[in-house]
């Protein structure tokens, strides 16, 4: 089933087209790879989907509901979680509290409910389950800024999962990680997918993309230049040209 439907989405910054009429759809339980050279507009696309930027043109709908005019908190409450390319955990809060912030999405809309205490046993139990899934159970009380990069990335995923998302946007999860760390993270992403959660994956590591994704969208200079299976993408002349440059 289609989760996210992006139609002719564009974004301009001071006349510069960062994204140019990009369209695609993504489904439940599917890991859709988004690749492209640096500056292709991948992160801009994520910032549009998650509501940090407003699109200059085009439309987006999530589970049939139009989302391109919504604010980040509204979009996240609908069930779109995200991580950041440069990790952004709440640095001075511990792992548990980081996840609790997102867990609270069900209380924030009501002033009355948000006045209730957050350290309740039943909440902590559910949060602990998420922390365990991310393999961080020994670090529950550690301050986020003291964690190594790989753990921070897993913390971001645990935090996003606390939103009970239907769709997860992962921005270069394996960047800067050692091989084993990266492998563990990929395993976590597979588990997430097996639960039926859709994933949009921006990734530079081609090995990872080819492993995880059945379908890939390629962006270059803000435009979509190809879409298809890893095999099709690998042999697509436009893609090769975008990555390696034109033969002369």
């Amino acid at each position: 089933m289609t989760l996210l439907d992006v139609r002719a989405l564009s974004k301009e910054f001071d006349g510069l087209r960062a994204l140019d009429r990009v369209s695609f759809t993504s489904g439940e339980g599917e890991i859709l790879g988004i690749i492209g050279p640096n500056g292709a507009g991948k992160t801009t696309l994520f910032n549009l989907i998650s509501g940090i930027y407003l699109p200059s043109a085009g439309e987006m709908s999530f589970q049939g509901k139009s989302i391109h005019r919504l604010k980040p908190h509204q979009i996240s409450r609908l069930g779109i979680g995200r991580t950041f390319q440069i990790v952004r955990p709440f640095q001075n809060l511990d792992v548990e509290t980081n996840v609790l912030v997102a867990y609270g999405h069900r209380f924030y809309p009501s002033l009355w409910k948000s006045a209730g205490p957050f350290r309740q046993p039943e909440f902590l139990k559910e949060v602990q389950t998420l922390i365990q899934r991310a393999g961080l159970q020994s670090y529950t009380k550690h301050t986020a800024k003291n964690l190594p990069l790989g753990f921070k990335k897993r913390l971001e995923i645990a935090r996003a999962l606390a939103l009970e998302p239907r769709l997860l946007l992962l921005d270069e999860p394996s960047a800067g990680l050692r091989f084993e760390e990266s492998a563990q993270l990929m395993e976590l992403i597979r588990q997430v997918r097996d639960q039926g959660i859709g994933v949009l994956l921006i990734e530079h590591n081609m090995q990872v993309v080819m492993d995880l994704c059945k379908r890939i969208v390629v962006l270059d200079h803000g435009a979509k230049i190809a879409e298809g299976s890893p095999k099709e993408i690998r042999s697509n002349p436009l893609v090769i040209q975008a990555y390696l440059g034109k033969e002369t």
Binding site: H73, G81, Y108, A160, A162
Partner: protein, 300 residues
């Protein structure tokens, strides 16, 4: 019996502690810098004074109204402040302070440079409250505010503020309605500052625009930063120390702003978390003595 002089100092310190506490909600908890907090102190004081002297309301109505009016104005002024961050927010709030002070000073309705006089201590049991009684009254109110602060700090609201303070953009992507929770912090902080203003007006019995200028905002901020921004007790300790200093030595009173400025610089350089901040020397000493009493041979 404690002399009137000491009672005056005690009352002043509780009022400053209330102000530091209220600014700590906006700047410490929600992470929004404000250089114009005295404006809300002034709005509270003037609201209470006008209601009491012009409209004839009793203290018991005029002071709560001071909190309500300051809270409403805080919400209205908080909304434009939401569009700016960090250094621009600092300048915007500073501007608000100058505007509010100028309104009190130049609009005759507010008494102009002469201020408003004839505001009295509250009445109860058919007579005027004594100063020690008044001290107990505002101390009780302050303790209630601290209990409220603890309650809010442990609620989802407190958690949402912490997330906004840490990273506004990430907070938004985690379902936190950044605008709503920022406005809430501005309302609560301004209302408590307004309440402090009401208490202040009825205690001084006479208020002038200069009491609520930018200098006053700096004094309040100094207390918060000196004691430990974001911690519950830090701003109170800051208010007590910086409130007593000018009283124990007259030269300090004369060079108050200079000394506070130097203190601020020193704190920023050597103890940016303040006296009671999590990384400060005092907190570390305290933790060491509490968690490892045996280490100093003090255990049994």
């Amino acid at each position: 019996m404690i002399s009137g002089y000491f009672i005056t100092i005690f009352i002043t310190i509780v009022i400053y502690a209330m102000l530091a506490h209220s600014l700590n909600i906006i700047t410490g908890h929600a992470g929004q810098i404000s250089l114009g907090h005295a404006a809300f102190f002034g709005i509270g004081a003037y609201t209470s004074a006008m209601l009491y002297t012009e409209a004839g309301f009793p203290f018991w109505i005029s002071v709560p109204m001071a909190a309500v009016v300051a809270g409403i104005v805080g919400a209205l002024l908080g909304i434009p402040c939401l569009r700016v961050r960090d250094d621009f927010l600092a300048i915007t709030t500073m501007g608000i302070n100058f505007v509010v002070e100028a309104i009190f000073l130049y609009i005759p309705f507010f008494g102009g440079a002469m201020g408003i006089g004839g505001i009295n201590l509250p009445k109860w049991f058919g007579r005027e409250m004594t100063k020690p009684e008044y001290f107990v009254l505002i101390l009780v109110v302050f303790v209630l505010l601290l209990l409220l602060d603890r309650r809010v700090g442990r609620s989802w609201i407190g958690l949402a503020w912490a997330s906004i303070r840490e990273d506004e953009e990430a907070a938004g992507s985690m379902g936190v309605d950044v605008v709503r929770f920022k406005v809430l912090a501005f309302i609560l902080g301004s209302a408590i500052a307004g309440l402090a203003g009401g208490f202040y007006a009825h205690f001084l019995t006479f208020i002038m625009p200069q009491n609520f200028g930018f200098g006053q905002s700096v004094v309040i901020l100094s207390m918060v930063v000196f004691g430990g921004i974001g911690s519950r007790w830090g701003p109170i300790v800051g208010a007590i120390i910086l409130g007593i200093l000018p009283e124990v030595s007259r030269p300090i009173m004369e060079y108050r702003i200079l000394i506070y400025g130097i203190l601020l610089l020193g704190m920023m350089r050597f103890q940016p978390g303040g006296l009671l901040g999590p990384e400060s020397v005092l907190s570390k000493l305290f933790r060491r003595s509490v968690y490892r009493p045996g280490a100093r041979g003090g255990s049994q």
